[in-house]
Every structure is written in structure tokens, then in C-alpha cells.
């Protein structure tokens, strides 16, 4: 199947039909709400929406909208059942229109040319909007062919061939790790580069603020998610919209961690709602006699440096520490940071890696290139049997919820296995571990406040890196994780030097600094953030005799 024949290329033809189906299903599903049926359920539903929206808009928002919700709240008890039903349907239609995107083949064709160039220029520190303007003038020039070639800077790894074949046999749900707002752009490039079909995905409203980004996202099938809206009606619209798209066979992408990982850890607590809609869609399809499968593709996005590292870890520590954490305002300017990041990342020796893990079915079994689910012993499975009871397919909401939890665990495990550890992350984990061993009694927050300036002798750091690397190589050989090639093979001294250099190239206050005879801790919070990438393996790394020596 050529890329252009995937269902998304016909999205606009079915757009109105999808809209009607989503509205009809949401209205039908919400006929019961809060344990009651219509018209009381409609009253409760609208009251729930009005309560949350008035609360939100009172803290700052459109005055017109605030007054509209206040009027509705006052009218609710006097509305007839017919008026309540009409109001629910009208609100559903409003939010479906707000959420729903388009897909324009011309914009896709443009994006396939612009995105590599745009990313290339972005990584060379050029303004994105300027990139688009310059496109027509610069297209075709030999120098820009080089610029478009990001393969030296972004490695694509893993089960790409399998994923490509499965895209012909069923519906893909790509579920990546999430570290940065750059993820969706980089992943969009990765799908094009891997000759995989475009996917529909939900993007936060803030990402639509930039008109250029909004233009591309709106016309490439992205749907808008407004995380400020907390009421049930809106959540039901979002859930139903993504489910209808899945049932209709549109390839999908969502970040199961919900938001960017604040701590730097590989996400382990996943949001199960959208994963669950993959199982529900499978079940719905089967009931209609449609046995096209849905495949879950765990994917890891691995950066040597993360654009928003400082602000993310600040958020995380503030949330975790509450009053124990004394936040420091580093006065960092976001735009300045973006420019600084863009200029530096492309000149790093270490490239970023996007790794596609083995696809899974909605029950967490591995799927082979032939589209068959396989048990742990390699036996081909009949997937529909998971929905059977006493020889017949049955609906069991609690059973299916547990299947989804199991799928979530399989995705989490795949995230751990497929994470590619970078030199910065390895050295950060080791150095913070050394700090912990120096002061075993200190709680994390005190440690992060006091470790800056600590000196670690070069020889001991090198020995410890050597030991840690050997341990990581063993774990990689056992299939527990992946290592960046530089981590695996570089001489220890070069590995340490490279990691320190990488930190210094981007972060204003480097995580570590090199001295004549050792390594000095710069920003312990960055050590914590980058080192957290290894925390999922910490049991295996900390087990056994203590090998991390205290600096003397």
C-alpha cells in the first residue's frame, strides 16, 4: 500500500460523517450520567460543565463565555427535557468542532519537504518562520539537500520494517515517550523518513498558539486538546473522537505518559484512557465483523540534551518537595533557550535516537511482521479469544479494563527496554550516586542544594564509569535497555569528556565541569534530571557490593 492510499488521505471526505457519529455517540453515552438517566443526567452533566467553566473563567478568561455559562447555570432547573437534550447536543457539537482537525494532502506534501529543511535550519539556529519563507527560494539548492539530511543527527532504530508492514495490515497506535515539546515535530519527521504513514494525534492547545505550527497541525489531522477543560462532557467528546478514528482505521499517535516527563525518568505510570480506547475499538470492530487489528507501537525518543530540562526538573522538584524544596529563579528566557539549544544540539558528537519497539496487540502480546500475535513461546494466537467467555464474545467492562492495565504494563516495560541511554545520562546518574554515597544521610532536597562545587578525582570517576558501563553492557546484552554506541565503545576518558562537553554546550549552568584533576558538580538538579533516565534500572545497578567510591 502506497503512503497516499492510507485512510487519512481521505479524511476530509469523511470529516462530516465522523463529526455526526461522534456527536451521536456522545449524546447516547451521556444519556446516563452520575447514576441517573435523562433528563436528570443532562441536568447534572450541564451543571458539571457550568461549574468547572465558571470556576476556570473566573480566574481569567472570556467575559462573554463566563456570562454564557452563568446564564446556563441559572436556567438549568427551569429547562424542559427537550431543551436540556438540545443543549447537550449543542455543547457536544461545539466541542467536537473545537477538537476536530483536517487533513490536506497538499499540506502533507509541503510538510514532507519543509519539515526536514525546517528541522535542519532549526538545529542550525535559524528561525522557523523564516525557514518557511525561504523554502521556495532555496529549494533545490545542493547545500540544502545536506541541510535536509538529518540522518547523521537523528538515528532511527528498531522494528521499522515490522511497523511498516503492519501499517498495511491494520491500524497503528504509536505511543512514544515524552520529554520535550519538540517530540511531535521530531517524530513527524521520523515517520516520514521511515516511509511510515502520517498519524492523527491530539496536541495541547498551547501548541496551536504559533500560527505556522497551527497551520500545519490543523491540516495534518492533529486534533486540539484543551487541558483546561475538566468537565465530563468535554472528556467524553475527546475519548469518543479518538475512538471513532481508531475504529475507522486512522493511524494514531498519543503520548501515554500524558505530559512531558518532569523528572527525566522513563514514564512508568501511563494514562490508560486512550490505550483502553484501542481495546474498545477492537471490540466494536469485531462486533461489526471487522477483524482488522490495532497494533500498539511503543517508541522511545532519546535526546542527549533536553530543551526544557531546567524548567521540567524545577516543576518536578517543586511538586515533589512542596515546602522542602526552595525553588531558585534562574531567570532563564525561553526563546533564548530555544535558540541556544538549536545552535548546539546539531554540533554534538552524540546524535538523538528514535527507537521503534516491537509492536503489541491490545492485550500486550508481541505481534510479528505477518500481523499475528505471538505468545511467549512463539505460538500464533487468536486475538479475539481474549474477548470470549463460554465460547462466545462477551462485553465485560472490568475484564477489559484489566486487559488495558496489562497492556499499559507491557508498554512501560517496552519503554524501559527500548530506552537508549546517552553519555550525559550515564555520567549524571553516576555522579549523583557518588554524591549520595558521600553523604548517605542527606535527603534528596538537601543533597541537591549542597552538592554544587563538590570535587571528584578524575581517576576514581573513570574507574566507576568503567564499572558502571560494564554493568550497563551486561544489562543491554540481557535485553533490559539500549546504549548509545558511544557509551558502549568509547574509551572511558572520552566518554566522560564528551558528556561534560555536551552539558557545557547547552545548559547555561553546566551539570558538571572539568578541572585539571577531576570533575566538579555544577548543577545537581540537572544531574538528577538526566540521571533519572537510569532510575528504572537502579535496582540492578545498585545491587551487589558498593563500587562507587567516596572522593578523597
Amino acid at each position: 500500500m502506497a503512503i497516499g492510499t492510507h485512510p487519512i488521505f481521505h479524511f476530509n471526505e469523511h470529516r462530516d460523517d465522523i463529526r455526526r457519529e461522534v456527536i451521536a455517540r456522545v449524546v447516547a453515552d451521556l444519556s446516563t450520567f452520575g447514576g441517573v438517566t435523562t433528563p436528570r443526567s443532562h441536568q447534572l452533566l450541564l451543571n458539571d460543565a457550568a461549574y468547572h467553566e465558571i470556576d476556570r473563567l473566573n480566574q481569567g478568561g472570556s467575559k462573554d463565555q463566563l456570562e454564557r455559562w452563568q446564564r446556563l447555570a441559572r436556567r438549568l432547573l427551569r429547562m424542559t427535557p427537550a431543551e436540556l437534550a438540545a443543549e447537550v447536543e449543542s455543547e457536544c457539537a461545539h466541542y467536537v468542532d473545537d477538537v476536530q482537525g483536517h487533513f490536506d494532502r497538499r499540506v502533507y506534501n509541503l510538510a514532507t519537504r519543509v519539515l526536514p529543511l525546517g528541522l535542519g535550519l532549526l538545529f542550525k539556529g535559524t528561525d522557523v518562520a523564516q525557514t518557511v519563507k525561504d523554502l521556495a527560494r532555496l529549494e533545490g539548492l545542493a547545500g540544502f539537500r545536506e541541510l535536509r539530511d538529518l540522518s547523521g543527527r537523528i538515528r532511527l532504530e528498531g522494528e521499522i520494517d515490522t511497523v511498516r508492514r503492519l501499517a498495511q495490515k491494520g491500524t497503528l497506535v504509536v505511543v512514544p515517550t515524552h520529554s520535550s515539546n519538540m517530540d511531535s515535530i521530531v517524530l513527524g519527521w521520523a515517520l516520514m523518513e521511515a516511509n511510515l504513514p502520517p498519524v492523527i494525534y491530539g496536541a495541547g492547545r498551547n501548541l496551536f498558539a504559533n500560527p505556522v505550527m497551527a497551520f500545519f497541525m490543523r491540516n495534518l489531522g492533529a486534533y486540539r486538546v484543551d487541558r483546561r477543560l475538566k468537565f465530563s462532557l468535554y472528556k467524553e467528546v475527546l475519548k469518543t473522537y479518538s475512538q471513532v478514528l481508531l475504529e475507522r482505521g486512522y493511524h494514531n499517535l498519543f503520548f501515554p505518559g500524558g505530559t512531558r516527563s518532569r523528572s527525566g525518568r522513563v514514564e512508568q505510570r501511563l494514562k490508560l484512557g486512550l490505550l483502553g480506547s484501542a481495546l474498545t475499538a477492537t471490540s466494536e470492530r469485531l462486533q461489526r465483523g471487522d477483524d482488522r487489528p490495532i497494533f500498539i507501537v511503543p517508541t522511545t525518543i532519546n535526546y542527549p540534551l533536553v530543551l526544557e530540562a531546567e524548567s521540567l526538573v524545577e516543576d518536578h522538584l517543586r511538586e515533589m518537595g512542596k515546602e522542602r524544596y526552595l525553588a531558585e529563579d534562574d531567570g532563564f528566557d525561553t526563546l533564548g533557550k530555544l535558540g541556544h539549544y538549536a545552535m548546539k544540539v546539531m554540533s554534538l558528537e552524540t546524535s538523538m535516537a528514535i527507537r521503534f519497539g516491537a509492536p503489541l496487540d491490545v492485550f500486550g502480546n508481541v505481534v510479528g511482521p505477518d500481523g499475528h500475535s505471538r505468545g511467549p513461546d512463539g505460538t500464533a494466537l487468536r486475538r479475539e479469544r481474549y474477548l470470549f467467555r463460554d465460547g462466545r464474545p462477551t462485553v465485560d467492562v472490568k475484564r477489559d479494563a484489566e486487559y488495558t492495565r496489562i497492556l499499559g504494563r507491557s508498554v512501560s516495560e517496552a519503554f524501559q527496554r527500548e530506552t537508549v541511554l546517552m553519555p550525559t545520562q550515564v555520567l549524571a546518574w553516576l555522579m549523583l550516586e557518588r554524591e549520595r554515597r558521600i553523604a548517605p544521610g542527606l535527603d534528596l532536597f538537601t543533597l541537591l542544594r549542597t552538592a554544587s562545587g563538590d570535587h571528584h578525582p578524575w581517576g576514581l570517576v573513570g574507574e566507576d564509569v568503567d564499572w558502571l558501563r560494564a554493568r550497563l553492557v551486561t544489562l543491554e546484552s540481557q535485553g533490559h535497555l539500549r546504549l548509545d554506541p558511544f557509551v558502549r565503545t568509547a574509551p572511558v576518558g572520552q566518554l566522560v569528556e564528551q558528556a561534560i562537553k555536551t552539558f557545557a554546550m547547552y545548559h547555561l549552568r553546566p551539570a558538571l565541569e572539568r578541572t585539571d584533576d577531576g570533575v566538579v558538580v555544577g548543577d545537581p538538579k540537572l544531574l538528577y534530571y538526566y540521571g533519572n533516565r537510569l532510575e528504572g534500572y537502579a535496582d540492578a545497578l545498585r545491587d551487589g557490593p558498593s563500587r562507587v567510591r567516596v572522593a578523597s
Binding site: 492485550f363 500486550g364 502480546n365 505468545g375 511467549p376 513461546d377 505460538t379 494466537l381 487468536r382 486475538r383 479475539e384 479469544r385 481474549y386 474477548l387 470470549f388 467467555r389 463460554d390 465460547g391 465485560d396 472490568k398 475484564r399 484489566e402 486487559y403 492495565r405 496489562i406 535496582d539 545498585r542 545491587d543
Partner: protein, 316 residues
């Protein structure tokens, strides 16, 4: 679907007792053993040595194999399982891979999930054994599953006038409690063999239960599960009987007869595994650690008692 309503895999005393319990509740049972058997069985139970056809015609499977045999058996039979099979595990303890193995012994359900495609599983445990069931004396069991419809189905199939069956949504906690209880029972066996006073034994029992709860919670179970039938229930059975492998091992350790104690290889491996897991997880497990040290000959019973009693004072 025609055929038996339950496959009971394992025809030892526990498998046979549970088969009889199921048959008396109206189920048709295919009892699967390693060898053909001429022993008379009640109506409703058919003995066989062939698992595959039984699994081909039945969705409900009760596994009554010793935990030591579980991994090999499930690996061998994995190809016969399908997504619709609902399995209940009754094995007690952790899988034993030998003390020299670098791999951590596992819970039975972990083995089931890793070796087969089965998703719907439950765990059966509690204050009962084959003799109690066969004699029709009052007893209780708990069936725990994350799949409520499966645990309710099992509750209905097993319960009877002399057997109460409770459900739980915490299979990990039930499985862990069941495994930890037998290790802690070794410590209680030591206390018993030292001819200690009731006060000493009571102290050991209450601290054992507190430790079990701590470990269960740390390893993914729910707070309070250890105080139920699979934890305190199993521990109490061993204490009231004052016999059985854990107590015998405790007696041997108390006498300093290390070889006899170490013959209980499963208990020794379970103590080592739990102690290692607790240390890595940073959870206090003084009784499990002590049992491990005793099994490895690094402490005598007297030294262990002195060490336990001289620990820093703390709140309960």
C-alpha cells in the same frame, strides 16, 4: 462449549481435594496427572494424563502443581493455552531456580504471565489443606483476581457448607503473603523449638505479621492483605499445627542441624530471595533476614535471638 467445566492440573492431594470440592458443587472436572491412576474418583471427575484436549474444550483451569514444577510445566504446555483460558493458581511459595542462579525467584503468577499468553488469572490461598477439605471440616479460602468476574465464578464453584470462599482484588498481595508466611513460619519454628514462653511466641508472631504486611505493601500488594487468610491465616495454621516443613526447618536450625534444615531447599531459596529483594528495596525485614542468615549458617539461633532483641528501640 461441551466438555468439562474445570480442568484441574495436578492430581496430588491438593488437586484431588479441590476436584472433589468442585465436583460436589456440580462441576464436571478433568483431573490431569502425570501418570494414569486407578484410584476411585467421585462422580463428575474424569482422570487423564493428557492436558491438551482438556484445555481444548474447557476455559477454566485450576493449577495444583508444586511451585517447583510450575515453570517447566507451563513452558511445556504454553502452546495449548489461549486468550479465553481463565486460570487459578494454588501453588505456594516462590519458584526456585537454585541458589547459584542470578535470577530472582518469582511468584507463580509472574511465571504464568511470562510463559503463557494467559491474562485472566486468580490466586487461591488460605487456612485450609487437603485433609481439612476432604474431611469436610470448616475452613476458609481466599480467591484473589484483578478480574472480578473470574473470582466470583470461582467463589461460586468452590464454596460449600463447610468451605467459605472470600474474594479479593489483590492477587499480588495474596500470593506474596502466602509465600512470605512460610518463610516467617521458619522463624516461628525456631522460637517454638527454643521452648520459649507464650510471650516470646506471641512477640514473634505479631512481629512476623507486621513484617509480612510491610513486605507485601513494598512489593506491590495492598495494605491489609497480609492480615487476611493468605497471610495471617496461613501463618496461624502453621503455628497452631506446630508442624510442617517450615516448623521442622526451624527446629533443625534451632538445634544447629544445618544440613537437615538446608534440605528444605525451597524455603532456603525463598528466604534468600526475599531477603535480597527487601535489601534492594530498602525495606526492613529482620525476621526474613534472620531466617536467611540461619539457613546460610552465618548465625546460630542464640545469636539471632540476641541480635533481634538488641535492635534499636522504635515505635510499633
Amino acid at each position: 462449549m461441551s466438555g468439562p467445566s474445570f480442568v484441574v492440573w495436578g492430581d496430588g492431594p491438593w488437586g484431588r481435594a479441590l476436584s472433589r470440592r468442585l465436583a460436589s458443587g456440580g462441576a464436571n472436572v478433568a483431573l490431569i496427572g502425570l501418570r494414569t491412576s486407578n484410584r476411585k474418583l467421585p462422580r463428575g471427575i474424569v482422570h487423564s494424563t493428557d492436558l491438551a484436549p482438556a484445555l481444548g474444550s474447557c476455559e477454566r483451569v485450576l493449577v495444583a502443581l508444586p511451585v517447583t514444577a510450575l515453570e517447566a510445566a507451563l513452558t511445556d504446555a504454553a502452546r495449548h493455552f489461549e486468550g479465553h483460558h481463565r486460570v487459578v493458581l494454588t501453588s505456594r511459595g516462590l519458584t526456585s531456580r537454585g541458589l547459584s542462579s542470578a535470577e530472582v525467584p518469582q511468584r507463580a503468577s509472574e511465571v504464568l504471565m511470562q510463559r503463557t499468553c494467559v491474562r485472566q488469572f486468580a490466586v487461591l490461598a488460605g487456612a485450609s489443606d487437603a485433609t481439612t477439605l476432604d474431611q469436610g471440616r470448616a475452613a476458609s479460602l481466599v480467591v484473589a483476581s484483578a478480574f472480578p468476574s473470574w473470582s466470583k465464578e470461582l467463589q461460586a464453584a468452590l464454596a460449600g457448607p463447610t468451605l467459605r470462599v472470600y474474594t479479593s482484588g489483590d492477587p499480588i498481595g495474596v500470593e506474596l503473603s502466602n509465600a512470605i508466611a512460610v518463610v516467617l513460619a521458619v522463624a516461628l519454628g525456631v522460637a517454638h523449638a527454643k521452648d520459649a514462653t507464650s510471650a516470646t511466641r506471641a512477640t514473634a508472631l505479631t512481629r512476623a505479621v507486621a513484617e509480612m504486611d510491610r513486605l507485601v505493601r513494598r512489593f506491590g500488594g495492598t495494605a491489609g492483605t497480609a492480615f487476611g487468610l493468605a497471610g495471617l491465616g496461613v501463618l496461624s495454621t502453621l503455628v497452631f499445627d506446630a508442624s510442617g516443613p517450615p516448623f521442622d526447618a526451624g527446629s533443625a536450625l534451632c538445634r544447629g542441624d544445618l544440613l537437615e534444615a538446608q534440605a528444605q531447599t525451597e524455603l532456603r531459596a525463598a528466604a534468600a530471595a526475599l531477603s535480597a529483594r527487601a535489601r534492594i528495596a530498602g525495606v526492613s525485614a529482620p525476621l526474613v533476614d534472620t531466617v536467611h542468615e540461619l539457613f546460610e549458617g552465618r548465625q546460630s539461633a542464640d545469636e539471632a535471638l540476641t541480635m533481634l532483641m538488641s535492635r534499636a528501640a522504635r515505635s510499633e
